[in-house]
Symmetry: C3
Subunit: 512 residues, 3 copies
Amino acid sequence: MTTSRFDITKLSIMRWMVIATAFGFLLILPFDPLVIGTVIASTPPISEASQDCLGCHEDETPGIVADWRGSRHAVTSVSEALKKPSIARRVSVEKVPDSMASTAVGCYECHGLNPAAHKDNFEHNDYKINVVVSPPDCATCHPVEVEQFSHSKKAHAIDILEKNPLYHTLTKTITDLKGFENGKLVSMGAAPMANAKSCFACHGTHIEVRGMKTIETEFEEVSVPDLANWPNQGVGRHNPDGSFGACTACHPRHGFSLETARKPYTCAQCHLAPDVPAWEVFKESKHGNMFLSESGKWDWNRVPWRAGIDFKAPTCAACHNALLTDKDDEPVVERTHDFGSRLWVRIFGLPYSHPQPKDGRTYKIRNADGLPLPVTLTGQPASSFLISKVEQKERRAMMGSVCGFCHSTSWSNDFFEQMDQTNKEADRMVKTATQLMQHAWDKKLADPTNPFDEVIEKIWLREWLFYASSVRYGAAMSGPDYVGFKYGWWNLNENLRELEKRINEKKISAPP
Amino acid sequence: MTTSRFDITKLSIMRWMVIATAFGFLLILPFDPLVIGTVIASTPPISEASQDCLGCHEDETPGIVADWRGSRHAVTSVSEALKKPSIARRVSVEKVPDSMASTAVGCYECHGLNPAAHKDNFEHNDYKINVVVSPPDCATCHPVEVEQFSHSKKAHAIDILEKNPLYHTLTKTITDLKGFENGKLVSMGAAPMANAKSCFACHGTHIEVRGMKTIETEFEEVSVPDLANWPNQGVGRHNPDGSFGACTACHPRHGFSLETARKPYTCAQCHLAPDVPAWEVFKESKHGNMFLSESGKWDWNRVPWRAGIDFKAPTCAACHNALLTDKDDEPVVERTHDFGSRLWVRIFGLPYSHPQPKDGRTYKIRNADGLPLPVTLTGQPASSFLISKVEQKERRAMMGSVCGFCHSTSWSNDFFEQMDQTNKEADRMVKTATQLMQHAWDKKLADPTNPFDEVIEKIWLREWLFYASSVRYGAAMSGPDYVGFKYGWWNLNENLRELEKRINEKKISAPP
Amino acid sequence: MTTSRFDITKLSIMRWMVIATAFGFLLILPFDPLVIGTVIASTPPISEASQDCLGCHEDETPGIVADWRGSRHAVTSVSEALKKPSIARRVSVEKVPDSMASTAVGCYECHGLNPAAHKDNFEHNDYKINVVVSPPDCATCHPVEVEQFSHSKKAHAIDILEKNPLYHTLTKTITDLKGFENGKLVSMGAAPMANAKSCFACHGTHIEVRGMKTIETEFEEVSVPDLANWPNQGVGRHNPDGSFGACTACHPRHGFSLETARKPYTCAQCHLAPDVPAWEVFKESKHGNMFLSESGKWDWNRVPWRAGIDFKAPTCAACHNALLTDKDDEPVVERTHDFGSRLWVRIFGLPYSHPQPKDGRTYKIRNADGLPLPVTLTGQPASSFLISKVEQKERRAMMGSVCGFCHSTSWSNDFFEQMDQTNKEADRMVKTATQLMQHAWDKKLADPTNPFDEVIEKIWLREWLFYASSVRYGAAMSGPDYVGFKYGWWNLNENLRELEKRINEKKISAPP
């Protein structure tokens, strides 16, 4: 026996430990066949064009290159992706052009698409490059998602604010720049950047190509498109290729991580207190408690996603858009990028809760007062523009099937009942506030020409835009403080009393 | 030498790497004897009854089944649990009925207990099932915890609001539904769901059995108890078996994870700004900084819990109720489920800080004004209902021994001194606000019949319910912003000035 | 073949699995040569003095001992640390006294330094121990960091509040204790602990040695220094050795974890809404989304830190003070502990945005009104005390190179443009509010002697101290809600209207 050979006897304990340990680790490896495929697949080649991009950008913008290298786009080709069973796919196309089927989805595969449509396309080191990748570009591989998204309110998020004169007035009033002249405040018009960095940071800006400009970088002088209202990642962005939307609003560049999109922090970029406290309410709920306490151990990347197995408590994505399956990968709810399509009632952004609109372009609605709002100021719904009772019931049942992973049908029914009742109560408070406000308008104590600019009008706005909305979210997702002390019933009552007081003061000081 | 045998020489480097790596991993495995026992123990059998439950519920509610399968209840029997040294046990019973000693703690082991007491018990596929598992049910294995809990304020959280006429008035006033009639706001009484989804979502509702109802599920039609004020997980819930409390308020179904209960997100479901900003203050403290930055590496599941070894900075559980031991597993503080029993001073929910009540049923207190509050409006404590100075000193020393894991006695003493002084200062501001309010009541500028419903009364309420409370929490747990700009001294002064201004206005407009 | 030898044939599959698994783990181990060194180095000896400390403190304060044992200080000696390439070092000294070069950096190595300078030094079991370790002590190994820090505003955080009469008045007004006499509020002077636990909890207190005192611990009676204004970890703390600053403000005891310092929770102890909403804005930004969603997988401990490789999205530390390198460990920005030295504009704490001060001791500034503020109330900068346009441009380019890891130069330029424009808009609103306030002062509707104590003055303060600051932060770090609804433009306008209303009321009630 040579010295280079192991003395098995001596080593038997250590060897046992080696085997036991390594074997133990093997046991905790994902044996899931849907996952194994991915692990074993070899990394596809990078196209010549993308290789050229990387040649410089590996040094120019190493962060996004490294991010991309860690992404699924870098390690899978579309043709490999299509070998998976359809339930496990992240692509929804059946076939892509041969030219890009077998390579990694690299720089040029995304930034080189549809150059003719892209006003932001420019000649860059012998390639024609788009600055702003748009939903139609993403649709090359993800057409179903882009098509679904196009029907959502999100895709029309700019028009919803701009084409609806009431919301337009509201945004302009909130960001109105004021001067001081002759002892008085005077309006100087909406501050342009204020709009772009608040409302339209989430809703999206109009990206326009003003021409070309020369930029001095660390490495060279380059000529690039001169874009107005850019940067912006708003979800309803108007892109230079004429399309609407920004996939990167939720799938941040350039990792496009499914894990990130599934985590509530993504939605929490925009769905926030005081007007849309979805994140804050979730965070304070029992679901949020479980997410925050336990989610380090969940499988955030499996497709399809199995409630209870891959994750223990729902996040925004679970209830609102992910494909969820049972333990045998049978679908319970289908994936959707038409956000809101699982919802039957809409609880924010308007004085009263109301059935979901049929169409994402809500500015097309006309209610009984002729206004582009789904309800009148007295609470009458514009029913022909809203989903039917049958549709409401179907959606509620669909959401119930999500709850049903963990809760009995009886439990969920009772929970939805509580939510309905809460909406009614909050709506009633708003109605009272609105009657009080209407009373002031009628008595000429306020001027309804712009219903949002005076002190008492802002108090009225708070009642529904912030407080009633919080109460409804607090009940819908179980965050008690948002029903109570935090923008909730405490504020509904305190604010209503203040509105009454302010109006009474005006009555006293007003000429008879 | 056959080809199937390794060429040791060639492989020696790789082999060394294998051994070194695997051995390295072995070294980081928990060699802790208290843990090893658990790992090695084989999974106990599931009782026939629970197996029957799983037969359907594996498909009906797969999420909670999967959650349970990952829980300690699923992998340990009580008899196995009792083999551990008592310091390491999670069960506090010495013996359970033979029928459940050797099986997993499954569905029926919890939902089938004490059927005679349970008004929510119903016949379900030949089993008698309780919908709502209650503290007496949990006491089958965890009697000490349930007994401790029964003395806490938490266990009496409903009665504290309802049997104390002042708090009862406060909750009803906060959630008062308003109408508008003849140009005036009119009260329509407390909105029922507003109460249930705010105050009583945390404090608990009265779960009542109205009878039976038929539910259509995806699989079948079932007859189930019709429960009023359900769902609810409030910590003081009144259960259909007549008991008080909901263990699931902090130990969410059906994983009952110790890790979750030990994380501050659990307490943060209810102990929140603006009235009880425990979580927010913690989050902004140095303890919170360490928790948020480092806790991914801590051992959240070891019993007993060793400060500095298993965790580096305290969470709510560490200071307020966990069993903490030194490195030799010698207890430093005992586990308690009588929350508040380590505290000597109470700093929220009342105008003034005061010694902790002796009994969790605080509505039994009578102060010098005959009110069920531990202090009078002028700050006089109802001493006979509150813990003695000796007891206060003992509790302070006990908490000091928790601080003592990381801080010197001198440091802790000085810190407590700062906290005491802060309480005095905040109390002084509340006293001034209360004197001002009393002045308004005396001058008939406000009506004390309901001391919480008028605009100026709400300003007074803010002074103590929100701002003084924040200041005290900010000092007690070192969150400077809550002492300063965030509901702190900024607000104490701003709000007090506003109260004065509003009262002065009333003086001017009041009839002489 | 003996039975103790493996039957290779039978075991070949398992053996393959062992090797494959272990090898797989090897592959994911950090082969980074900068890291390998650390792993292989053996733990240095503990000095005799520190061993004596541990003798008792292992039992007295086990938490900090365990924390220290897990720290780099416990596992590396300075001489080992100096063997690393300079780019990878955490120490900035070139040589330390032989006596401490080869041991772990233990208790006595830090608490025993410079005893003559330390008024808090005391005889403790035959050693001369300092209670408060100070920046000069840390400078023994980290002189560059301490020197850089000494120029920052942070190092002078106390003086900035105390030596500037305006800020001094502001802090005293915010924490003013009020009494109620003859129907009126009366000032009782600033509440001492209110100041210490709010403003000075972050800015730092003056630690003073009052003498010695005797403390009864669990183990013994000890005589220790009696420190005033202690405990405190404020970043500008005045220490008993005459120095300024507290390294533990950001490097919490006794792990001094780089990971913790690099995480935003550290900065979030102080840089918080409503006045400095850096953390809240970051949290709601896309950078924050990526941090919160993905950071569990980042390498928080590598020095130097590589954007895109070690971390995917910047934290506070990445942009503001960490040494960042490219993939070849070539520096892109150097490490700095002169916080703010990468910034060209200052956006909080003052009515108007303005170029960064040249010197951290901002109380030395004199503007055209003779006040120690970098701008006058009308917006005129005290240019000679502020960095030049050239310096501004250089710093902006430096920050652009940080953005440049992931964003094109054009993108960053446009982003900075948006930020500049936002600052201008916010400044304009503050100017209007200030003109309105000045109008009130001029008309004797308010008394400018203390410009911060009256109700309308507090409304004016809110306009700039909270709302304009939020708008600027929201644009600088992309948190749209802080530009809009959350202390943003909604509030800028609502508050300005309220200020106007309150002043108008005073006009009506004022004597002509």
